[in-house]
């Protein structure tokens, strides 16, 4: 084949690839976060590989610990850690539920139901383009997970929610630090309501707080309001770190989330709204 045709062939292939990807990009932009089947298929194919790789490394690590560590002490420690994990979740949700002053028996029955509705999972990866946007966990539709289920960290603080794609054994979590996320919240003291949105850099902003609003202070806790219909009320979200007033109608309220992305390993997924249980 003459050289100029060979060069044209490579340019044709490049043009075709670029065109295909531009079409792929342009079909998504007006739809926002609606994943197409191609992306779902790629995620569903590669996420089990990611899951498998980490399981393998964890198994090798555990092999060392189990055979060369003090085996009984190791298993006792693990049992206690597992129990503590669930206890923290129950504790946080229970504090709010007790405000309703239910009877002891009702609370015990509800706690049992609550325990059954919390699923533990592990984080197996973070967003490739910006780790403050999303994470991948090792539970999926086979474990009963669905879109919009709420995800908490090991201390019961809000991490985010499950979004598409949900594969069989893996799913994606949109973090509250993503700039496209939105959580209905209020301040703990005076219950000043607002929408919490991430900045994509590890912090969040409490939006729609009018400049004339009073009763909101630095250092105050922010909790979910439950008004958005997605996140149950009473979940700890973060702490206000700064409040500034500029030229706009609204204050700039910066919130530091309670969950620490550097230590995000185990998470809890709430399968059912605790308010339905209590």
């Amino acid at each position: 084949m003459p050289l100029f045709l060979k060069e044209r062939k490579s340019l044709l292939v490049l043009t075709a690839l670029i065109f295909f990807q531009l079409i792929l990009i342009s079909t998504q932009v007006p739809l926002g976060y609606g994943q197409n089947y191609f992306e779902k298929a790629v995620f569903s194919f590669f996420s089990p590989i990611q899951h498998g790789i980490l399981s393998l490394f964890r198994s090798i690590g555990n092999l060392w610990k189990n055979y060369f560590d003090l085996q009984n002490v190791q298993s006792q420690n693990q049992k206690m850690k597992d129990e503590m994990f669930f206890l923290r979740q129950e504790n946080n949700l229970l504090r709010n539920a007790l405000e309703n002053l239910r009877s002891q028996k009702e609370i015990e029955e509800s706690l049992l139901k609550l325990h059954e509705n919390i699923l533990a999972a592990q984080v197996i990866g973070f967003d490739a383009s910006n780790f403050y946007k999303s994470a991948t966990i090792n539970k999926g539709s086979l474990d009963g997970l669905k879109k919009d289920m709420v995800v908490l960290d090991q201390n019961g603080s809000l991490v985010g929610r499950i979004i598409d794609p949900v594969a069989l054994k893996e799913s994606r979590v949109q973090l509250i630090t993503d700039n496209e996320s939105g959580v209905g919240v209020f301040s703990k003291k005076k219950e000043v309501m607002g929408i919490l949105s991430g900045d994509g850099k590890g912090y969040c902003f409490l939006e729609y707080i009018h400049v004339t609003t009073e009763g909101i202070y630095e250092g105050e806790d922010i909790i979910t309001s439950g008004k958005d219909g997605l996140f149950p009320s009473g979940i700890k979200v973060g702490k206000i770190v700064s409040i500034t007033t500029g030229t706009s109608l609204f204050k700039q309220v910066k919130v530091e989330p309670y969950f620490d992305i550097r230590r995000l390993d185990h998470v809890a997924i709430i399968m059912k709204d605790p308010m339905e249980i209590f």
Binding site: S10, Q21, L24, I25, E39, V42, F46, I53, F126, N130
Partner: protein, 159 residues
């Protein structure tokens, strides 16, 4: 068949490294672009068409683990893969120092392309990871030039 096995192995190793780095610390993924190394290596070994196709494939894998528009990294890697293959045809990029400069410039080019596409689509700035992402071309080039040097030495020592 042999080429297919080599490429598949390269992608699996890159994916393995990406997963492990991500698990150790998400910031490490900003410092080393393992998928781009695979694309550049095979683009240089084969040709620009191979580089473009592999770039599209690896970029889409990266995009599937990213929240947002599917295809941004794919587009950037397609162009980078093609460019790598094209330049490698014109100049010899095998010597270690030249390989280092070549990888550094290509990763920088890919990063700029990706950042521009990202800013254009999302109308916002990228997460720099407190400036760590700006060391990606240097980090990737250092690792890449060593790796390519040993891979080529190993290839030459094969019967």
């Amino acid at each position: 068949m042999k080429d297919f096995i080599k490429v598949s192995l390269g992608i699996i190793i890159a994916f393995l490294l990406y997963t492990v780095l991500n698990k150790i610390s998400p910031s490490l993924v900003l410092l080393f672009n393992v998928f781009s190394l695979v694309v550049i290596y095979f683009a240089v070994e084969k040709n620009e068409i191979f580089g473009a196709c592999l770039g599209a494939f690896c970029g889409l894998i990266q995009d599937s683990f990213s929240l947002g528009v599917f295809g941004v990294a794919g587009l950037a890697k397609t162009i980078a893969g093609f460019t790598a293959g094209y330049i490698a045809k014109k100049i010899d990029v095998n010597p270690p120092l030249r390989s280092f400069v070549f990888i550094f410039l290509l990763i920088s080019f890919e990063f700029i392309l990706w950042a521009l596409l990202y800013s254009f689509i999302f109308s916002g700035s990228i997460n720099t990871g407190r400036g760590l992402i700006f060391f990606q071309p240097l980090g990737t080039a250092l690792v890449g030039s060593f790796l390519f040097f040993f891979l080529r030495k190993f290839k030459r020592s094969e019967p």
